[in-house]
């Protein structure tokens, strides 16, 4: 008898066999992937909003106990607040240092250069670059030419970098919290390694000594966390080691703390200027030949420069 017309029990069992195998494969795969998702330490794969996974950039907010980085670039705005007597910042050849109990707020617009945060204490800031406009305690300072700004190990109360564009970061023993997509996903670090891609946004060094990042990146990685498409963006890190301010190898300047009050300094210079000028000095602390009172007031006196420093600053021989 032709086998094709005999649909015997053995043949029928084979029909059921492939269905049983199919059922095991399909249901096993569904159960397996569902269990794998639940077994992820952070539950990240199950809680990750689809919008994040699909987007090339990730909104990230991080608060870290330290942020050892040295980055060269252009910053829209840089606000430094410091009051330590040992803190000094050089503007061209002049030195802007804290006198007495004074708190200085230096706001620099369109800073172009390198900024470094200390690897252990983010409140120790080094910067080296140039800007065309800056404000000291809210008083604007402008110049036709760019002004060099330099500081090494400047101990700040707070620092805000707006419009910062930082390279990829990778750090060990990082502690803090990170949230993505406006807090929809949060992640805590406890002395763990943390890595993220090129970052654009705001960096704040808070008075508490913590560093707050708020902006966008394209990937972030930590133990149990893997977000974003790292491979699509090329190399993930530029260096394996955290970068420190040691890269600014210029020796630290010697700072001589000034005990005198700011007003006294201005009075002394007034007397000196009286002797060398014939220009009207009514209401002026001192005057500089070849420069208007308004310019001297704006460029030197408001900044706190002495007459000699002012002459250097304005290029008077």
């Amino acid at each position: 008898m032709n086998e094709s017309i005999t649909i015997g029990p053995s043949h029928h069992n084979k029909i059921y066999n492939w269905k049983i195998i199919l059922a095991i494969i399909v249901l096993g795969a569904i159960a397996g992937i569902a269990l794998l998702g639940q077994a992820t330490p952070t539950g990240f794969f199950t809680s990750l909003p689809g919008a994040i996974a699909g987007e090339k950039t990730i909104q990230m907010t991080a608060t870290l106990d330290r942020f050892p980085i040295s980055a060269k670039g252009t910053y829209e705005e840089l606000v430094l607040v410091y009051d330590s007597p040992n803190s000094v910042l050089k503007i061209d050849k002049s030195q802007l240092d804290v006198i007495g109990e004074q708190t200085l707020e230096l706001r620099i617009i369109n800073f172009k250069g390198k900024i470094s945060l200390d690897s252990l204490n983010p409140k120790l800031v080094s910067l080296e670059g140039e800007a065309t406009k800056f404000y000291i305690n809210g008083i604007g300072q402008t110049s036709d030419k760019t002004v060099d700004l330099t500081a090494y190990g400047l101990e700040v109360k707070s620092l805000t970098l707006s419009g910062a564009s930082l390279p990829s970061f990778s750090g060990e023993d990082m502690t803090g919290s990170i949230s993505f997509n406006n807090g929809k996903v949060t992640f805590n670090l406890d002395a763990e390694s943390f890595e993220f891609g090129p970052f654009i946004g705001i960096v704040r060094v808070l008075e508490t000594g913590q560093v707050q990042l708020e902006g966008i990146t394209n990937y972030a990685k930590a133990k149990g966390l893997n977000i974003g498409d790292e491979l699509a963006q090329g190399t993930s890190t530029e260096t394996n080691e955290p970068q420190t301010i040691g890269e600014l190898s210029t020796p630290l300047p010697v700072i001589i703390p000034q005990d005198v009050e700011l007003q006294e300094t201005q009075d002394n210079t007034t007397e000196t200027s009286d002797e060398i000028t014939t220009q009207s000095n009514e209401g002026m602390v001192y005057v500089i030949e070849g420069h208007s009172n308004e310019e001297v007031q704006r460029e030197c006196i408001d900044v706190g420069l002495s007459k000699g420093e002012c002459e250097d600053f304005l290029g008077v021989e």
């Binding site: 649909i7 269905k19 399909v26 199950t46």
Partner: protein, 151 residues
């Protein structure tokens, strides 16, 4: 052959209820998975392929298999485009049996086994609606007492 056909038997769709139930289980499991988890393209393709295989098997079987019974022979016709026909003389048959599980009895579906002297075992016609009635008709035809032209 067609003018002598006393009984035409084709499998019933309800005889493949297990395929539909399994496809439903796949769909339900996939729905639960996507509800509680993220969309997964691998699972989607696997479930779609599984359901398609089950439904296609049912439809192809229903379209391609026929059993025609004449006073002399039982013919098995197989194929959708290309058809094969094989016949066995009823005179070689010894008995007709109906097999039903409890659930098949509830649905009034079953398989008919035609036992005889075939070395490959009985002829099995699966998924037959009203199997008792059809088995009786086959017996009547075999005895040359057929009255029903079709089922």
């Amino acid at each position: 052959m067609s003018d002598k056909i006393k009984l035409k038997i084709k499998p019933s769709r309800i005889g493949f209820l297990s395929n539909y139930v399994l496809a439903g289980i796949f769909g339900g499991a996939y729905g639960g998975f996507t509800f509680f988890s993220e969309f997964n393209i691998f699972i989607t393709i696997l479930v779609a392929a599984g359901i398609a295989m089950l439904l296609l098997e049912t439809e192809i079987f229903l379209m391609s298999k026929r059993w025609h019974i004449t006073p002399e022979q039982i013919y098995f016709i197989d194929g959708v485009v290309k058809k094969n026909r094989t016949g066995i003389f009823l005179s070689t048959m010894t008995n007709v049996e109906v097999r039903q599980s409890g659930f098949e009895r509830f649905l009034n579906v079953g398989k008919i086994e035609l036992h005889g002297f075939q070395k490959d075992g009985p002829i099995v016609i699966p998924g037959v609606r009203h199997p008792e009635h059809v088995a009786n008709e086959i017996e009547k035809i075999a005895r040359g007492q057929s009255r029903a032209p079709n089922t």
